[in-house]
Symmetry: C2
Subunit: 393 residues, 2 copies
């Protein structure tokens, strides 16, 4: 089955930017001008394409995105800024569209100059490869330590007409809930004004990419670009229409976020950390983040060790007031901690069985007030260290 979304064409080719070979240059083209919105990393250190795309998205219009892996084009100075502009200009020239309507995104090693000559050389092949079913090639071209391309789609009906949202993302490392994740590109075939798109994207990102972590890092290149075409004939403009659209967009960004954590660097587990009964939702979020980012919790998950004390210890350092002697902790359906103390060897044996699952949920109920939050994380494995000790070599 070929995946596509009316009005968009995609391509991904190998240009030689990736040291180890493989597809590394991708292009998305909206066949007619699309309205667009984007969110970017909040890191103080930002890659050149982030600066460029943030500037250009202000128009609310985007025709194409050119994205590469291999170099993040970050900490590359003036040459980096020029390289990002040049990449966009090359795409614009080849596609015959205005340069200002081309956004860029890069991912890979920080500090490595972007060899724009390779992009120039690959441009004819890249534009020739554009086709409606090309999203898998595009998704492969933005992968770094990802082991598989990440694609999701969903649909809805507005005013009696069906629309679709197709999206892809890359993740793997430097994933943390502080604005978006590495790169993600949802493209609906519904039409929508840029202002409404911005609201929908902010909501979707807060519910998905802002609630995942792999290693507690904020990347310098995080970019999510949402381009709304309109080929389906659906116009999203009423509150009801926006609600239907939000649901479909959330489904796509949520599925992509989950795929990112499940394919986290070295990950063998996908774990949801739920906190309930916190003093506030924000407090619940802080506690969930502390647990989800704890290397001691994450190594215990890898070791399939129901080391519940580490979960409580991580929760306790979040700076959120709660009474430890009221806390309950569940590993899926197993209540491992009741009233701040362990439930004993039998519960621990059952919790150990839960830990053998590929996916499960840790639920921490603080029994304070009604604040709740949920964060997705993965375990911390020997392979994570191996991948990151050798990443550049």
């Amino acid at each position: 089955m070929t995946m596509g979304c009316d009005g968009f064409v995609f391509a991904g080719v190998a240009s030689g930017l990736k040291k180890r070979g493989g597809k590394d240059l991708g292009l998305i083209l909206a066949e007619t001008p699309a309205s667009a919105a984007a969110v970017f990393t909040r890191n103080r250190v930002q890659a050149a394409p982030v600066h460029l795309s943030r500037e250009r998205i202000r128009s609310g219009c985007c025709r194409a995105v050119i994205a590469n892996s291999g170099s993040a084009n970050c900490c590359t100075g003036d040459a980096g800024r020029k390289a990002a502009q040049r990449a966009a200009a090359l795409a614009a020239g080849a596609l015959g569209i205005p340069e200002e309507q081309v956004l860029t995104a890069s991912t890979g090693v920080i500090g490595l100059p972007l060899e724009v000559s390779r992009i120039e050389a690959a441009m004819p092949a890249l534009t020739a490869a554009l086709h409606p079913g090309g999203i898998e090639d595009f998704a492969a071209a933005i992968m770094t330590t990802d082991t598989r391309p990440k694609i999701a789609s969903a649909g809805g009906t507005v005013g009696g007409k069906d629309f679709k949202v197709l999206g892809c993302a890359k993740g793997a490392g430097m994933i943390r809930p502080a604005m978006a994740t590495l790169l993600a590109f949802p493209v609906p075939d519904a039409a929508m004004a840029p202002g409404l798109l911005r609201e929908a994207l902010a909501t979707a990102v807060d519910r998905s990419f802002n609630r995942i972590t792999v290693d507690g890092h904020t990347s310098t290149t995080d970019t999510v670009i949402l381009m709304a075409g309109g080929r389906s004939g659906v116009k999203v403009e009423t509150p009801e229409g926006c609600e239907v659209f939000q649901k479909a967009l959330d489904e796509v960004t949520g599925a992509l976020a989950r795929k990112i954590v499940g394919d986290g660097e070295g990950a063998t587990k996908l774990v949801e950390v739920r906190v309930a009964g916190a003093p506030s939702d924000a407090g619940a979020r802080a506690v969930a983040d502390a647990v989800a980012n704890s290397s001691l919790v994450k190594t215990a998950l890898f070791g399939q060790d129901a080391n519940w004390g580490r979960v409580l210890a991580a929760a306790g350092r979040a700076g959120v007031p709660f009474e430890p002697e009221k806390a309950d902790l569940y590993f899926d359906e197993v209540r491992m901690v009741a009233g701040g103390a362990g439930s004993g060897p039998e519960a621990e044996a059952r919790a150990t069985e839960v830990l053998k699952r590929r996916e499960f949920t840790l639920t921490l109920d603080l029994h304070a007030v009604a604040g709740s939050a949920s964060v997705l994380t993965c375990d911390f494995s020997i392979d994570y260290v191996k991948i990151n000790a050798d990443y550049r070599s």
Copy 2:
């Protein structure tokens, strides 16, 4: 050479609390009542001995500390509180001193009940083993994943008389700069009022145990107890005397902090992260903490990869405003980044040589204002994951 400190005796024995065997129960006795001060973890989840010792230290007086490894006696409910009290009572009975003058400290697995019957059975052997040269046995008894006991000493002269500060500590994991480190016990043979002791200890901890990290965790059992005897005949009471005392105490806590990071779980490198030119000292500290706790920086250190982009990316997510294009980064003497961009392959080759050293310094100069800070960290190795995936098994 036997290490000792006039007026103190120490012991450490194997009581069976440690699953894998070895010394696990330690005792320090001040031969005459000592004035004392202590600092404890700021984690919301605190072990039973932390509650007990915090209560008792208010008197400013302490005769003895009984410490164990194997169980942290944390999240152990009422039974845990009683076990901590019972351990202190057993020591007080055996030593013939008031129970309120005995403090306790525990380290090990969270949630595991403290088998106080083992402490009772070992008490005769423990008190019989007390001797002036026993600090190595005591230091061994508080080890968990530490590979070696940590002891340091320093001296000074006040009013023409010499005094000495002897101290020991354990560390290894759950080490983070948020109040103290796991367990540390400096014992000077100078006399000093509890109020002055508290000030001196707070200063010393801020300069030492609050500036180290292994894994970004705050333990539930962090305890530093400072007991001032007086057998040297030195009385510390003048500002000049306090200054001399502070210097000696700082020397001991600083050396212990360094030993803790150098023996961090799985550590192969001891790295000082220095930040200069930040908007403020607090800002510099936040940036240094972000770099020192970054798993991406730490895995690159393990891989001996001069991946300077990760250092800048970690600095950029600290929430501290700075201009990346002004930043310089040094690996020891090698300027790897100048004005926010890499210095090229020759500098990188030299930086890679620096990374082969066992100890080195990363200096990040933000060229904003004059704020500076320094934090000690270690690398993040495959062994860290192995140690923490199997810690309880």
